[in-house]
C-alpha cells in the first residue's frame, strides 16, 4: 500500500505531490496519462503564468518545469503514459499502461487532480451541418503549439473563454485571419487582460450578446450565421449576419473531469461540476482529496497551485494520522465534527469549499458566553479562504457574509465579473460566532453598491446589531481592494 497516489500530473497534481512531500510523506506516486508531466501547461506557450506565485512572468511549460525540477529532488514516483480506469471508495486504483499492463494500486490517501475538459458543440447544440473545421480551442491549441500545424485560415471563435482568447492571438500570429469572437453573454467569459492583449491589440472584434445560430458547409466549414441574442439568450430575428470562414473554434466553458470521482461515490456539486470539498480539500469520501480544475475551474494556474499545496498538506496530515492512530488526532472522528455549509447567496454562483469542519470541542463550555473572546480562537480553528464566482457583472460592490440573515463581514471590490474568480478570507472569529449561535450555514452574496441591487433578506445593516453588539464588533472586517 502506498501512502499517497495523486491522479494527474498537471499543475494541480505536481503541487499537491510536492506539498505532501514537504509535509513529511515519502511514499508518493503520481499517475499521469500523458507521456510527460505538466498537463495542459505544456501547450500554453504564451506567457503570463506565475505572476502571483513566483512573482515573475513565465510561459506554461516554464511554470510546469519549475515544479517538475522541484519534484526531481524528491523520491516521488511518476507513472507516465498510464491511465486510471477506476477508483474505488476504499482507495484502490485500477490503472493500465503499456509498460506495466493492468495493475491495482492501493493508497492511504488519494488526491484527485484530473483537471477539466472543454465543453463541446453538442453541449451547446449549435444547429447546422457537421463539417470538419470545428475545434474546441484547446484541441486547436494542441495542434498549433504541440504538433506544429495550422487548423484554418479564416476563423470565427464562439465563446470568450481564456483559451479561445489566447488562440485568437496565436492564430493571428501564425497567419490566420480571426474574423470575430462571438460571446452569448453580455460580458466576456475570460480575463480582462486577455480581452485587451489578445483581441483589442489585434483589432479582433468581440461581439457580446451574440451567438452562432448556424454552421454552414460540408465537408469543411464554409461559414457561420451569427445573430444578436435577447435577455433570455434567444437569437433576435433579423439580426443575422453571415461570416465566411473555414474554421470555428469553441471556447464555451470547461467541465471538471469527475467520471472517476462519481464512480468512487464522491459527492459532486452540480454548481461547480466538481467534488464537494471541505476547507482542507477533502471530499465526501474520507482520505480522498481534490484540487485544481477538477474541483472548480480556475482562471490562473497560480491559484491552482495554492489550492493544491493546501490539498497536499491536508493529505499529508491525514496520512500521518493514519500511520499513528493512537497519536494526537489531527483529523478527529466525524462524530466530533460540526459541519458548516457555505451557501451561495444572491449574485454568487458557487463557493469552494462548500463545507467547513469545526471540531466540536471548541464549543464545549463556550455556549454563548463570549466574554472571553480569544480563548476559543485556538490554533485548532483557522481562517478559511473561500473562492467563488459572481453570476453577473458588478460595479463598485461589496461581498457580504451573513449568519442567519445578519451581515457580519463585508469585503469591498471596485468591480466583480463572472470571468474572474474571487477570494475572501473568512476570519476564524466568524466561524466561532457561527458555532456559538448554533448555526450551520454561512451565506456569501454580492451587492452592487452603485445600483443597490441586493438580496432583500441580506445586507440589512441594522440587523447586525440585533445579533450581538459585542460579537459583531469583534468580527474582523477585511478590506481587500483589488
Amino acid at each position: 500500500m502506498h501512502d499517497l497516489i495523486v491522479i494527474g500530473g498537471g499543475p494541480a497534481g505536481l503541487a499537491a505531490a510536492l506539498s505532501a512531500w514537504e509535509n513529511g510523506i515519502r511514499d508518493i506516486v503520481i499517475v499521469e496519462r500523458d507521456k510527460e508531466l505538466g498537463g495542459i501547461l505544456n501547450q500554453c506557450i504564451h506567457n503570463g503564468f506565475g505572476l502571483h506565485y513566483f512573482k515573475e512572468e513565465l510561459t506554461g511549460p516554464e511554470y510546469a518545469s519549475r515544479f517538475i525540477d522541484m519534484l526531481n529532488d524528491t523520491s516521488v514516483k511518476v507513472k507516465l503514459d498510464t491511465m486510471v480506469l477506476e477508483l474505488t471508495p476504499d482507495k484502490e486504483l485500477h490503472i493500465v499502461s503499456s509498460a506495466s499492463g493492468y495493475e491495482i494500486l492501493k493508497a492511504k490517501a488519494v488526491i484527485l487532480a484530473m483537471g477539466c475538459r472543454e465543453r463541446t458543440r453538442g453541449a451547446i447544440g449549435i444547429p447546422g451541418t457537421r463539417p470538419s473545421g470545428i475545434f474546441t480551442a484547446g484541441a486547436a491549441q494542441r495542434y498549433v503549439n504541440m504538433e506544429g500545424y495550422l487548423v484554418g485560415k479564416k476563423v470565427v471563435i464562439l465563446g470568450s473563454g481564456d483559451i479561445g482568447l489566447i488562440m485568437a492571438r496565436r492564430l493571428t500570429l501564425e497567419g490566420a485571419e480571426v474574423l470575430a469572437c462571438v460571446e452569448i453573454m453580455p460580458y466576456p467569459g475570460g480575463l480582462t487582460r486577455n480581452i485587451v492583449q489578445c483581441l483589442q491589440d489585434f483589432n479582433i472584434p468581440l461581439y457580446l450578446s451574440h451567438t452562432i445560430t448556424k454552421i454552414h458547409g460540408s465537408p469543411r466549414v464554409e461559414g457561420v450565421t451569427i445573430a444578436k441574442v435577447d435577455g433570455q439568450r434567444k437569437p433576435v430575428p433579423g439580426t443575422e449576419q453571415y461570416l465566411e470562414c473555414d474554421t470555428v473554434l469553441l471556447s464555451v466553458g470547461l467541465i471538471p473531469e469527475n467520471e472517476l470521482s462519481r464512480k468512487a461515490g464522491i459527492e459532486i456539486d452540480r454548481r461547480t461540476g466538481g467534488p464537494v470539498v471541505y476547507e482542507n480539500l477533502e471530499t465526501s469520501v474520507e482520505g480522498i482529496f481534490a484540487c485544481g480544475n477538477v474541483v472548480h475551474v480556475h482562471d490562473l494556474v497560480d491559484y491552482v497551485t495554492n489550492e493544491s499545496l493546501k490539498a497536499g498538506k491536508s493529505a499529508a496530515e491525514y496520512i500521518l494520522n493514519f500511520n499513528d492512530p493512537t497519536g494526537n488526532s489531527v483529523s478527529p472522528e466525524h462524530s466530533d465534527i460540526s459541519d458548516i455549509r457555505l451557501v451561495n447567496g444572491v449574485g454568487v454562483s458557487y463557493t469552494v469549499p462548500q463545507l467547513i469542519r469545526i471540531p466540536k470541542n471548541l464549543m464545549v463550555n463556550s455556549s454563548l458566553s463570549i466574554s472571553d473572546p480569544d480563548i476559543e480562537l485556538s490554533d485548532q480553528l483557522q481562517d478559511v479562504e473561500v473562492f467563488f464566482r459572481v453570476n453577473r457583472k458588478f460595479g463598485r460592490s461589496r461581498i457580504g457574509v451573513s449568519l442567519a440573515g445578519n451581515e457580519l463581514a463585508r469585503f469591498r471590490r471596485e468591480r466583480l465579473a463572472p470571468g474572474e474568480m474571487e477570494k475572501i478570507r473568512l476570519p476564524k472569529s466568524l466561524l466561532m460566532k457561527c458555532l456559538q449561535l448554533g448555526l450551520s450555514e454561512i451565506e456569501i452574496y454580492a451587492v452592487d453598491e452603485m445600483t443597490g441591487q441586493a438580496s432583500a433578506d441580506n445586507a440589512n445593516e441594522t440587523k447586525i446589531t440585533a445579533v450581538s453588539q459585542d460579537s459583531a464588533r469583534r468580527i474582523q472586517i477585511i478590506r481587500q481592494d483589488r
Binding site: 496519462r33 503514459d81 491511465m83 480506469l85 493500465v96 499502461s97 503499456s98 509498460a99 506495466s100 499492463g101 493492468y102 475538459r117 472543454e118 463541446t120 458543440r121 453538442g122 453541449a123 447544440g125 444547429p127 447546422g128 451541418t129 457537421r130 463539417p131 470538419s132 473545421g133 474546441t136 484547446g138 484541441a139 494542441r142 495542434y143 498549433v144 504541440m146 504538433e147 506544429g148 500545424y149 495550422l150 487548423v151 484554418g152 485560415k153 501564425e174 445560430t213 448556424k214 460540408s218 465537408p219 469543411r220 473555414d246 467520471e259 462519481r262
Partner: protein
Amino acid sequence: MKKTYDVAIIGCGIVGAAMAYELSKYELDVVVVEKENDVCCGATKANSAIIHAGFDPLPGTLMAKLNVMGSRMAKEISQALDVPYKQIGSLVLAFDEDDLKTLDVLYERGLLNSVPGLRLLDRDEVLQMEPEISPNVAGALCAPTAGIINPWEYGIALAETAVRNGVELRLSSEVLSIGQDDENWRITTKSGDVHARYIVNAAGVNSDIIHNMTAEPSFSIRPSKGEYFLLDKSEGSRVKHVIFQCPSKTTKGVLVSPTVHGNLIVGPNAVPSERYDVSNTSDGLDYVRSAAMRSVPSISFRDNIRNFAGIRANSDNDDFIIGISAPRFLDLAGIKSPGLTAAPAIAVYAAELLQNEGLALSRKSDWIGTRKKVRFSELSVEEKNRLISENPAYGRVICRCETVTEGEIIDALHSPIPARSIDGVKRRTGSGMGRCQGGFCGPRILEIMSRELGIDPSEIIQDREGSYILTGQTKKERC
C-alpha cells in the same frame, strides 16, 4: 482483359452490406460499388439504432415479413460477428383513450405478424418497469424481442465478412451511368467501369436515380430527415427499454432509448428534406426535445453530447420496393424504417429473387461466418494483461472517455475494410464517441494514422473526402 462480375451491388449501406454478406456465401464474383470513402455513411450511421420487434408494419406487407425475420437474424448475426446488440425490449406508450385504441391495433397487428411475447401493460405496470416515465402514461404495449444495436458496426461487420469471403469493395466509386456491353451491365463509376451480369440496386436515398438509369421510372424517393440528441452516459440509464410513443395521424412519435454504448438517444422528428441535407435545425431539435419530455420528463438535455440528423430513404410507395425491374436488375429501394432490422432478411429474399432470375447459387465450403474484435474495456483483467504483454499498444489508452486503446485503433487501420478517416476509426472503435467528442483523442488519433498509414498529418481527413483538418505547418513556409 476486363473482368465481368456475377453481381455488382450498388451502395454499401446496411442493405448493400447485408446483400454482399449473403452473396459471399456462394461461389460468385461479387463487387460492391460505394460512392463514399467508407461503408455505412448514409442512413446506416444516423438512425435510431433499434432492432424493431415488428408490430408496426401492416400485416401482409414485405415490411412486416422481413422485419420479424430480420429481427431474429440480427440477434444471431450480431453474436456471430461480434456486433454490440442488446435485446432490451420496447414499450409503446399511450397517454389517452385514442392512444390506448392504437395500442390494441398494434397488438393485433403484432399477433398477425407473428411477433413473439407481446403484452399490453396498464399504467402501474409501466411505471413499475420504468419509473422515469411520465405519470400521465395510461398504458403501454411491451415487445420483449425489440433490441438495440450499433448500426454502423453491424453494417461494417457484414461488409467486412463479405470482403473476407472474397467480395470486392470499391469505395469512392459513385455511379455515373449504367449501360450494356453485349449481355452484361457496364457501370461507369468515378473510379472506372465495372462489368457485371447482375445488378443489385441498394443505393438508399439515391435508389430511384440508379433505377432510372436502367428501367422506366416507377417510384421516387422522398427523403425525410430525422434529428437526434445523443446524451452523456450519465443519462444512459434514464430508461431501460426502447420507449416509443403512439403513432398518430400527424407524427410517428419520438423515441427515447439507451444505446449499446450506454448513452441515451432521443429522436427523431420527420421533415421532408434534400437527399444530402443532414444539418440540424433549432426548430427540429426543439420539437424533439419537447416531444421526448412527454414520455420521460426528467431527461437532462444539458448532458447532450451530440446532435445529428439522418435521411430516411422514404418513397412514394408504402412498402419496401423489392423486385426485378429490368432483366438481371434487382431493386432494393425505398428501404425506410424498419430497414435496419429487415436488412439481413431482405438479403435472403433478394438472393432468392436473383436465383429466380437465373443466378446460380452454390454454397462455398470455406465460408467464414464469424468475426472477433478486441474491445479492450470489456476484457477481464487477465485477458487485458495477456493482450498487453503480447502487444503493448493495447496498454495505451488513447480515447479516455470510451477507453479505446492504441492497439484497437491500429486494428481499425488494418482491418478488412480499413478506416481511412478519423470518423472511420470512430465507427470501428468508438473513439471520440464520448463526452469530449474527440477533443483529447482527435489529435492523437491523427498522429497514429499519420504514422501507420505513412502519410502527412495534413492529409488526414475527418470523415468524407474533402473534410480536411489541418491546413499546413505553422513554421514551414517561413523557415
